[in-house]
């Protein structure tokens, strides 16, 4: 099966729906604490989902139907690759929040193709859980001020530090749904 190249983006309608409707409403309904608790909830759900899944299954790449807000290129990931992507992208978001919180300019470019998984290694879940614990500690200790400085997401609008933390929740949620789709596909594949 052929997939689009990394960084090709979302279908225009989906991108506009997120940009015009979802981003503003998330900004209205969230605060630092709500986002933090929702991120922790997503991590718990992912941990529970992967409870009885073998290492072989976690590394098995599956082709799934495109899930919401996932670009075509990411439809071929294994569960571990999704987790790896969450760690890579999450580390970048953490750096961006840290820089914006100091009211400094983010000098590096954010490119979707740079946050794609590379290793598909065996113990990715441990790295994932460790990263999200670090991120939680970071947010707990962050002064809860909204920065004036912003950094644009390549697909959407300019986000300040608060928006990037909200994005971190939405991003984790979207990929948790992708993991569910991969697990369903794995089940279907094994029953055939």
């Amino acid at each position: 099966m052929k997939f689009e190249k990394a960084g090709a983006g979302l279908p225009e309608f989906e991108r506009l729906f997120i940009r015009v409707f979802l981003v503003p409403i998330v900004r209205i309904t969230m605060n630092w604490t709500i986002s933090r608790l929702l991120i922790k909830r997503e991590v718990k759900i992912i941990k529970k989902l992967l409870n009885n899944i073998s290492n072989k299954q976690l590394q098995q790449e599956m082709s799934i139907k495109r899930t919401f807000a996932i670009e075509d290129n990411s439809r071929q990931f294994s569960v571990n690759e999704v987790l790896e992507h969450l760690v890579i992208a999450g580390s970048l978001v953490k750096d961006v929040i840290e820089t914006l919180s100091k009211e400094q300019e983010v000098e590096f470019d954010i490119k979707i193709e740079n946050v794609k998984p590379k290793e598909n290694k065996a113990n990715q879940l441990e790295d994932f859980l460790e990263f999200y614990q670090d991120y939680d500690d970071f947010i707990i200790n962050l002064p809860k001020k909204q920065s004036k400085m912003t950094k644009a997401h390549p697909w959407f609008v300019s986000f300040n530090n608060f928006d990037w933390n909200n994005f971190m929740f939405m991003h984790t949620f979207i990929h948790r749904r992708q993991i569910e789709a991969i697990l369903n596909e794995l089940k279907r594949f094994e029953n055939e």
Partner: protein, 67 residues
Amino acid sequence: MSSNAIGTIIIAGLLLIILLFGWFLFSTSMSFLITIILNLEFSLIKALYLFLGMITIKAFYPKNVFV
């Protein structure tokens, strides 16, 4: 659109509705508390205006409301 994608939109929508309702309860409770303290008559319409005002401010000037 896959059933997973539809499910994701429904879950996200429900979550945002629950959060909006939570903010409504919060602003209405505040409004109720103020009417008790100042011995005024509670009005649900006024509470609704307060809620709409709060989310409008939160949309355009988010740093001013419950960061």
